[in-house]
């Protein structure tokens, strides 16, 4: 546990030197949402109906933007190879990396989703709660799966487009349950089922994916 915090401290110190870089996904998310609103009829009530899926897809795409670089820098400057000869477990390092991606990209996106939802005409209430809880559980799944895909492609010179293609199909259940929960809540139904399912997916990912990602990173040296 201590070493997760140590790895995280390093990540945050690096991130503090690039403040603007971590604002980009937020800007992207806001712009996609605004463009979607501009693309539909002014004052169309169906916009609020579509809002959950727009916000879900927008947030996932925005979070994908920073994934490509997750391990790349560490591979290039030689930090990654030091991780593999160091006494600690590489899984801890992978977990810390994924966690830092969520804290720096995923969590701010969740916070931004509420004002953007209001902008699209969603009402504060059950639906909004389901959206936020869903995103809170779903964005870490993206960080875990995306971190795994980033680890798979770390040695590749041009992984940019490959990465979302690897991640997005695997993410489809997250989108289905996430925006489904909102619609269920809006319709006055119980939304706890899909939320629990997201929580189960997160638990599954959290137990397996950091380890699988460390195996994938090892692959860069063999």
């Amino acid at each position: 546990m201590i070493s997760v915090i140590q790895h995280l401290a390093r990540e945050f110190r690096v991130a503090a030197r690039h403040k603007t870089e971590w604002l980009m996904p937020l800007l992207f998310f806001a712009m996609v949402t605004v463009l979607f609103a501009l693309g539909s009829k002014p004052g169309d009530p169906r916009l609020a109906e579509m809002a959950p899926s727009v916000l879900w897809v927008g947030a996932l795409l925005a979070a994908l933007l920073t994934l490509d670089r997750l391990f790349r820098g560490d591979l290039d400057d030689g930090w990654l190879e030091q991780v593999f000869v160091a006494p600690g477990a590489p899984t801890t390092y992978a977990l810390a990396k994924m966690l830092s991606h969520w804290l720096l990209t995923g969590l701010p996106l969740v916070l931004l989703a509420m004002p953007l939802g209001l902008l699209l005409g969603m009402k504060a209430g059950q639906g909004m709660n389901a959206l936020l809880i869903g995103l809170l559980l779903g964005t870490p799944i993206l960080s875990l799966l995306g971190g795994f895909a980033a680890a798979l492609t770390v040695g590749l010179p041009r992984a940019g487009l490959l990465l979302p293609i690897l991640v997005l199909p695997i993410l489809s259940p997250v989108v289905i349950f996430g925006s489904g929960a909102v619609r269920a809540a809006n319709a006055g139904l119980d939304s706890s089922g899909p939320i629990y399912f997201l929580a189960a997916l997160l638990t599954l990912g959290l137990t397996l994916l950091p380890w699988v990602a460390s195996v994938a990173l090892r692959n860069a040296f063999d």
């Binding site: 690096v14 030197r17 290039d76 400057d77 030091q82 000869v85 160091a86």
Partner: protein, 194 residues
Amino acid sequence: MYLLSAIAVDVARGDRALLEGISFSVAAGDLLHIKGRNGAGKSSLIEVLVGLRRPQRGRVEGLQSQQMHWVGHRNALQPDLTLAENLRSWCSLQKLKTANVSDALEHLGLRALRHRPARTLSMGQKRRAALARLLISPRPLWILDEPLSGLDTQGTLLLGKLMNAHLADQGGIVVTSHQPLPGRIARVSVLDLA
């Protein structure tokens, strides 16, 4: 008592075989100089020795990687962190005490640069910073991959002194270099991969 032995090691990079049947031993106070042209497999062999790469065949016996200092051809310096921050985070990764970081930087003439981000430093300065890791805590075996690259005359002489002192302390060194090694070293064996 050997610090490290390679026994009939075959090294491959991907599906390409690089080296076959490499055997050697390094005892306390010994220096092994690995020579060979570019692409001969020096760095791959080093990666096998430190346990980063699996040998195709054969085995490596002796110290664990936690008892070696490995300076690879990459310096492991994060460009946005300062030199001191870089060395300190390396210490926490290696579970070492950070008390000696400033002494080590001092010793390599980097004291004035310790708060500069690594990206602003020259190649030779970065190389010195990577070599400063050797002094942070004593470990019996040093594994150095082209340590002289980028170093100026002064830096080369300094490294020669450090290596001699380490050998005098009954340490062992494995070093790859296509340049002659600095300083007079008593017990050198050469492994030519040509």
